[in-house]
């Protein structure tokens, strides 16, 4: 039974439980709802929840645990000498899974019967060819160990699945029976249901923590694997980024970090003055009409997806910059400084445009939090508005604005699409903004798209890069939020 139908079945049992529980409660009170401790519906909910929640919980846990257990069992079946030179157990296991999946598909499409599959011997039949027919392409012929492992994998999966269906259904029925038997007019159904709902609420709230733990663990785990294959000194202190497939890649984060920071710096150079002045104008000078018109329009810039900015960088800004700074005699300046559309400047400028509303709306909030009394005090002394802004409002808002800029910087460092499309792919240290350079996020994308081999340092380095990126942006955010919060408290 597919998992989807199992879930539907559980819901049906739970709904039945609701009806049963409600009826039993009412009949225990002789049909008089006033004699019940709680409203009749609560008795229904109680039975329904007791049926559904433990069963669903078991289902989720089972789905998470089963692959791990089977993997362990099956990988034990593969002898060390069956792992060819140059690959790892992980790679062989992915072959095993692929064969198993292929067999499943073949059975599902009717190319093979399950009987045939069970009796197949890799020595005799052309498994690669048969699976190719159903669209599962295998890289090489299937070796006996792999095929046997795949068979074991299939049978354990099937057994596991059947066991799961039975266990889950059983838990649901037991839940139904227990809660149904407890239902009578003195049972405190509302309190029980509310406790259960509360537990669900807490579970939902902890998901945020689980996500963070998931992020950190998944990246830590693979990063550890990476440092097992590649020296960490090269990663942190080497000077070159040059992945190759000969096995002697140089994978240093430093040139990528340089590109990231350089592009972010240019983005801030564009976004901070424009965003800050826009915020100052909107909060200190603009009348309500201008504010109501300009503020939402500027904020549209923040709602535009980054892919649009990426395309804008690649197809509009990049070629424009080439026309200005490149093309020799035919260019605007008649110089030959820039050859391709991708460059630090391209990505930086476009990212700057994206960040304008981010900086301006954050600064706007912060400037508005400066008490009016400050402004009155300054204006009352005969200061002009600009003097008031520069010498009273901005110094008072400075911590908040610094926080806003840090948040914008963290955005810039983590931005992906604009740099993937606008910055280029060459990792190097250069101060020339017209050259193309690459960033951490760009490299994560290029190392993890296409065919990924989770046993090679060239793929795993992406996790180390991701972890660094996470730590970097998280650090900036925590710092910025701390500063902003301290600042807010000052005026609350």
């Amino acid at each position: 039974m597919p998992t989807f139908w199992l879930v539907i079945l559980l819901c049906v049992i739970a709904a039945a439980g609701y009806v049963l529980g409600r009826q039993r409660a009412l009949s225990s009170a002789g049909g008089d709802a006033r004699a019940l401790h709680s409203l009749p519906a609560y008795y229904g909910y109680n039975v329904g929840l007791s049926t559904l929640v433990p069963a669903l919980g078991l289902l989720v846990v089972w789905l998470l645990a089963q692959p791990m257990l089977i993997e362990n069992r099956v990988s034990g079946m593969i002898p060390a000498e069956a792992i060819p030179e140059g690959t790892t157990l992980g790679l062989v296991m992915s072959d095993v899974r692929r064969v198993a999946e292929g067999l499943d598909i073949a059975v599902a499409e009717g190319v093979l019967t399950s009987e045939q599959v069970r009796n197949m011997r890799s020595e005799f039949s052309d498994i690669r060819g048969r699976l190719g027919e159903v669209g599962v392409a295998l890289g090489s012929d299937v070796r006996p160990e792999v095929f046997n492992a795949a068979q074991a994998y299939r049978s354990s999966s099937a057994t596991g699945h059947t066991a799961m269906v039975i266990a889950v259904a059983l838990v649901a029925l037991v839940g139904l029976g227990l809660s149904y038997s407890k239902t009578n007019k003195d049972f405190r159904a509302r309190n029980t249901v509310e406790r259960a709902v509360m537990a669900l609420l807490i579970l939902a709230a902890s998901l945020a923590i689980l996500t963070t733990i998931g992020i950190v663990l998944s990246m830590l785990f693979e990063t550890r694997n990476f440092f097992g294959l590649h020296s960490w000194t090269d990663f942190f202190f080497g000077g070159t980024w040059a992945p190759n497939f000969r096995g002697d890649s140089e994978l240093s984060i430093l040139p990528l970090l340089w590109g990231t920071l350089y592009i972010s710096f240019i983005a801030l150079l564009v976004a901070v003055p424009i965003g800050l002045f826009a915020a100052i104008y909107l909060s200190e000078y603009a009348g309500p009409a201008v504010r109501a018109f300009a503020k939402p329009l500027l904020e549209i810039l923040a709602g535009i997806p980054t892919i649009v900015y990426g395309l804008f960088a690649l197809l509009t800004v990049g070629p424009l910059l080439v026309r200005i700074f490149g093309q020799g005699e035919n260019g605007v300046l008649g110089v030959e400084w820039m050859s391709g559309a991708t460059s630090v400047l391209t990505a930086g400028v476009v990212m700057g445009i994206m960040l304008i509303p981010f900086v301006s709306s954050l600064s706007d909030d912060i400037i508005n939090a400066v008490p009016q009394a400050m402004r009155d005090g300054s204006l009352g002394l005969g200061a002009t508005k600009s003097e008031t802004v520069r010498q009273v409002v901005l110094p008072a808002a400075l911590p908040g604005i610094v926080g806003a800029i840090l948040l914008a910087a963290s955005r810039a460092i983590g931005e992906t699409m604009i740099v993937v499309m606008g910055a280029g792919a060459i990792a190097k240290f250069s101060a020339n903004p017209l050259e193309s350079m690459t960033t951490i996020t760009t490299r994560i994308v290029s190392q993890l798209t296409g065919d990924t081999d989770f046993a090679s340092p060239e793929t795993l380095v992406a996790f180390a890069l991701g972890l660094t990126l996470f730590v970097l942006t998280l650090g900036l955010n925590v710092l910025a939020l701390y500063i902003v919060r301290k600042y807010r408290e000052q005026y609350d």
């Binding site: 009394a373 300054s378 009352g380 002394l381 005969g382 200061a383 010498q391 009273v392």
Partner: protein, 264 residues
């Protein structure tokens, strides 16, 4: 004017500010209705009246602080030394240097005590060098009657002072630009009685050099510090005269009701 007696609080000074037929509108609402008043030099003039009667609004008209509120409209004539301050040629910045203001809540800038006081002289370019600026700061702090308390910590933040000290610092800050008129919008309402007494004493001393206009909620305060009193009610100037007369023998029944506590 040498025959002026401070005891019975009658004054015969030259007119500093004269307001003629002043009307103020906040959008639709008519906040000040046809007010005529003459404010004299070297005198403390108190504006009293129930909350929302327009006394603060009128005060803010005198140095055009109402300009900062978009919906506020002022008509009529307010003359400072015979010049209409709402004339198109008048720069409110220059006006406010002459007509300083102290606010209800002490509002020191988040800067050092020194920089708070030096702010006005700096923007108006009153000092040619550091020494002169130091001198202005010291003089102003002395006038604000706070010098002795802060002279050892001029570079500590102004926000670290107590409420009464903060308000005297704000007065010193206002005085530092050498204004001719000092407007005070309920300067003691956020202060405790001891601080209030100190500020009131200070106001009395400031009268020697400035024309002081004070808005107050407290009739006792008006009686204590002012020589002239104006009573506002629902946007109208009901009565204006010598403080002694207003408090002892008001002409208008509304004034009498307010003073005796029947309206307010």
């Amino acid at each position: 004017m040498n025959d002026m007696s401070t005891l019975d609080k009658t004054v015969t000074n030259t007119t500093k500010i004269s307001a003629k037929n002043v009307n103020v509108y906040y959008g639709e609402s008519h906040a000040i209705k046809d007010v005529n008043v003459e404010i004299e030099d070297k005198t403390v003039t108190a504006f009293i009246g129930p909350s929302g009667c327009g006394k603060s609004t009128f005060l803010r008209c005198l140095n055009r602080m109402n300009d900062t509120i978009d919906v506020c409209r002022v008509s009529g004539e307010i003359l400072l030394d015979g010049e209409d301050i709402y004339d198109k040629r008048v720069d409110p910045v220059q006006l406010r240097a002459k007509v300083g203001m102290v606010f209800q809540k002490p509002n020191p800038f988040p800067k050092s005590i020194y920089d708070n006081v030096a702010y006005g002289p700096r923007i108006h370019g009153l000092a040619r060098n550091k020494a002169e600026l130091d001198e202005i700061v010291e003089k102003s702090l002395r006038r604000g009657a706070i010098w002795d308390e802060v002279k050892d910590r001029l570079h500590a933040p102004g926000t670290g002072l107590s409420g009464g000290q903060q308000q005297r610092l704000c007065i010193a800050r206002a005085v530092a630009t050498e204004p001719e008129v000092l407007l005070m919008d309920e300067p003691c309402s956020a202060l405790d009685p001891i601080a209030t007494a100190q500020v009131e004493e200070l106001i009395d001393e400031l009268r020697a050099s400035y024309s002081v206009v004070i808005v107050t909620h407290s009739m006792q305060q008006a009686a204590r510090v002012s020589q002239k009193t104006a009573f506002f009610h629902l946007g109208n100037l009901v009565e204006f005269g010598n403080t002694g007369q207003i408090f002892t023998n008001p002409e208008d029944p509304r004034t009498e009701s307010y003073i005796t506590g029947r309206i307010g």
